[in-house]
């Protein structure tokens, strides 16, 4: 049992932190970037690629770095620390993960190679109007005619969907949910992009007999979807940890420096106790999220681990996000000041791939499977 990063992992963290710290040295830089489409900085994305960060989880044969979930978690956490708007979890962990898990040799080499190089951004088009956190994509139907497949239906909100170079669309097939590659300029496809509250981007993707290529086998891929979603949920946990850490640091700093009634706010116990509780929540969340990544590394039950991480992060993120604003007072409400942006991002992540309540319900289903929970294998 070991919860520390090795020297190479520390070097990776420092490199990513250095790069993102320069790209987003202030919340003003981030605001400027998120105000314009595509909502992130293409140069920073290219630099992440150059550093090898985008290819981390993929096999070297597919153009990646052959690293594992711990390395991915390091990058995700640094993304969260400055709430960089680059779609790391969305493109690399989620879309890239699906391609790595389900794609043919050719699909993997072609798409993952380009993703690793930063020249192609794929996203997963999975959410549907009227659905919540389903793993099925039943609202889009796949039809086969001869050897050709077409898709019809609507996906929304598709995170990063307006800028994406390639869509991986989930759709109902015989016996379950299949995965299809769709080019954004394909016939019958419409996309309407919009900004989300935290500076991100999403889109409505309309599909009307739109030509599509099966990703890997043209059949039920729900097992793959569930596994990759679990990986992304855990990566989002790390992104949240970074954001929570920054929100706490910023709040602590503010309490030390901001004066009211002639004294620093840190002289008021009512406030310092609340900051202490934020720290408690952060450390507990860090423990579960780190554990979940190690469960992935270990080949354990990723879905249960992901639900546990998501639940803990949901509670911690809400607590820390709300308290960070409250302890700042009015300044925390302003868009010019960054602390509220952390809260916004934490809220967005919470409602991506299942919030705390959703995951708690999944854990309830397993309640009777065990006596005590044993965290170590």
């Amino acid at each position: 049992m070991d919860f520390t990063l090795d020297a190479e992992q520390v070097a990776l963290r420092d490199a990513v932190r250095g790069l993102l710290g320069k790209s987003y040295e202030s919340s003003e830089t981030r605001r400027a970037v998120t105000k314009q489409d595509p909502g992130w900085d293409e140069k920073t994305w290219a630099q992440l690629a150059e550093m090898g960060a985008l290819g981390l989880p993929f096999a070297e044969a597919d153009g990646g770095m052959g690293a594992g979930p711990v390395e991915v978690s390091i990058v995700a956490e640094e993304i969260g620390r400055v709430i960089a708007p680059e779609p790391y979890v969305e493109a690399v962990v989620l879309a890239g993960g699906l391609i790595a898990a389900a794609g043919t040799d050719e699909q993997r080499a072609e798409i993952l190679g380009a993703l690793s190089e930063g020249t192609l951004v794929p996203v997963f088009a999975h959410n549907e109007p009227g659905q919540r956190y389903s793993e099925a994509g039943a609202g889009v139907t796949a039809t086969k005619s001869g050897d050709a497949w077409t898709l019809t239906g609507v996906k929304e909100p598709v995170i990063g969907g307006a800028r994406a170079d390639l869509l991986i669309v989930s759709a109902a097939v015989d016996g379950g949910t299949g995965l299809f590659l769709v080019k954004p300029d394909a016939e019958g496809l419409t996309r309407d992009g919009y900004a989300t509250f935290e500076g991100g981007r999403a889109a409505r993707i309309g599909l009307n007999a739109t030509p599509a290529t099966p990703l890997g086998e043209a059949g039920d891929q729900s097992g793959v979807i569930a596994k990759v979603i679990a990986e992304a949920q855990i990566a989002y946990g790390h992104e949240s940890l970074g954001a929570m850490q920054s929100a706490l640091e910023q709040t602590t700093e503010y309490l030390k420096t901001r004066k009211q009634f002639g004294v620093p706010l840190s002289t008021f116990q009512a406030l310092t106790f609340r900051a202490a509780d934020m720290y408690v929540e952060l450390e507990l969340a860090r423990s579960v999220v780190t554990w979940a990544t190690l469960v992935l590394l270990d080949g354990g039950d990723a879905q249960e681990a992901a639900s546990r991480a998501k639940l803990q992060v949901s509670k911690a993120g809400r607590h820390i996000g709300k308290e960070a604003i409250q302890l700042h007072g009015g300044i925390g409400m302003t868009a010019e000041y960054s602390v509220g942006h952390f809260t916004s991002r934490l809220t967005a992540i919470d409602h991506t791939l299942g919030d705390g309540r959703h995951h708690l319900a999944l854990l309830v289903e397993r309640l009777d499977d065990h006596g005590v929970i044993e965290p170590l294998p």
Binding site: M1, D2, F3, T4, L5, D6, Q9, V70, L248, T252, L255, K256, S266, T267, F268, Q269, T272, F273, A275, A276, D277, Y279, V280, E283, L284, A285, S287, V288, T290, W291, T293, L294, V295, L297, D298, G300, R308, L311, Q312, L360, A361, L363, V364, L367, D368, G371, V372, I373, P375, L376, P377
Partner: protein
């Protein structure tokens, strides 16, 4: 990073599991599982069984019966003991006075007391708190005045847990009334049969007599019973309280208790139905399990990263959240019982389940957990001050 224990630690865990489930009597373990109060004899018997196996005081120096274990191994020892319903060695002996005597006592004091302390041949009580001191321990007023080769002790201690069983009591006493408050305190060992020592039990809200007041009226104590140097007692107390952090979050016991609650829940609903089918109970239990997982993993992070005896900063989280969860589980029992939770005094003719009868006294009793050992407000002060750097 790696989740698996080393082969050595896995073997160690197995060895502990085997020991705790075979070397401590089933009767004692069943008493703990049923959350009934242990008798003094049972507590002594359990500790002596551990001591016979050489694992009652692993945190002591090896010379005095300790083990050269890693912090992780000590954690495993502690958790497995609780999961097996084995009472942990008496904290006053194993965790408090023993390490202080071993670290600061004379050779004579060590030889005289340590073997008997490890084996619970002497039952120690703790004489720290006083009626007006509370968490502000250093404000204590009990005095010890040197007269020849004796100290004459006058004053009063309170919250002396299980003092009614005590053979000896270790005290913080004021030996220099002129010095500023921490500087004039000494650490003194007192035989509780000495004339002038009176123990008066205090009834608590659960109806039990777990704590006591101890009065010292011109009690004459041989000067050789002073531990270490005069007026250095505060340093020894800080050392002792620092040790107390280890295993301060009772994760194993709370996990076991929650798992038992889940079993009881299966027939606790109306007409013997399962409360696990009630979404509010089910989600509360699942949520508590997750919080306990978070706590246990935090404890593992702390032990994995404790080097040279310096605790990981997150260790303050353990006491704070550990006691909150411990209390939350006791509250769950009361809620699950509903009206049956009123039946604390029911006898053998009662139709109600045994766990119903103990649940409310237990819940009330465990309000103590967030108060003792540095109240949870003290823990928040520590986190805010030493970790976040927020100092008033």
């Amino acid at each position: 990073m790696r989740l698996q224990l080393s082969d050595e630690d896995v073997a160690f865990r197995e060895e502990m599991r085997e020991f705790f489930t075979t070397k401590v009597s089933k009767e004692i373990r069943d008493t703990v599982a049923a959350r009934h109060e242990l008798t003094k004899e049972q507590i002594v018997e359990a500790q002596q069984a551990l001591n016979a196996g050489g694992i009652a005081v692993p945190n002591w120096p090896v010379e005095w019966g300790g083990k050269d274990w890693t912090p992780l191994q000590r954690h495993i020892w502690h958790e497995e003991m609780q999961l097996a319903n084995v009472p942990i060695p008496l904290a006053f002996n194993a965790g408090m006075v023993g390490p202080v005597i071993a670290a600061f006592g004379s050779q004579e004091l060590k030889e005289r007391f340590l073997p008997k302390t490890a084996n619970l041949d002497i039952w120690w009580s703790q004489g720290f708190s006083e009626p007006d001191s509370g968490s502000d321990l250093a404000s204590l007023r009990t005095t010890a005045v040197k007269e020849g080769d004796e100290y004459v002790v006058n004053g009063q201690k309170t919250w002396t847990t299980l003092g009614q069983y005590g053979d000896w009591i270790f005290n913080l006493v004021r030996t220099d009334p002129e010095a500023k408050k921490q500087a004039g305190i000494s650490f003194l060992l007192i035989d509780m049969t000495t004339p002038g020592v009176t123990v008066r039990p205090i009834e608590l809200i659960d109806g039990g007599f777990e704590v006591n007041e101890v009065f010292f009226d011109n009690v004459r104590v041989p000067a050789e019973n002073l531990v270490g140097e005069e007026n250095k007692g505060w340093d020894y107390a800080k050392f002792l309280l620092g040790n107390e952090r280890v295993g301060v979050a009772p994760v194993g016991a709370t996990k076991r208790s929650l798992s038992a609650a889940k079993d009881y829940a299966k027939t606790a609903g109306p007409g013997g139905t399962s409360l696990l089918d009630d979404p509010l109970y089910a989600s509360q239990i699942a949520d508590l399990e997750n919080e306990l997982l978070a706590l246990e993993l935090t404890a593992l992070r702390v032990v994995a990263h404790s080097t040279d005896g310096k605790p990981h900063p997150a260790s303050s989280v353990l006491k704070l959240r550990g006691t909150e969860l411990q209390q939350a589980v006791t509250e769950l029992y009361v809620d699950m019982g509903g009206p049956a939770s009123l039946a604390s005094g029911a006898g053998p003719e009662s139709d109600l389940a045994d766990w119903n009868k103990v649940s409310t006294p237990y819940y009330l009793n465990f309000r103590k957990a967030s108060i003792y050992g540095g109240s949870n407000e003290i823990q928040r002060t520590i986190i805010a001050g030493t970790i976040l750097g927020l100092r008033g």
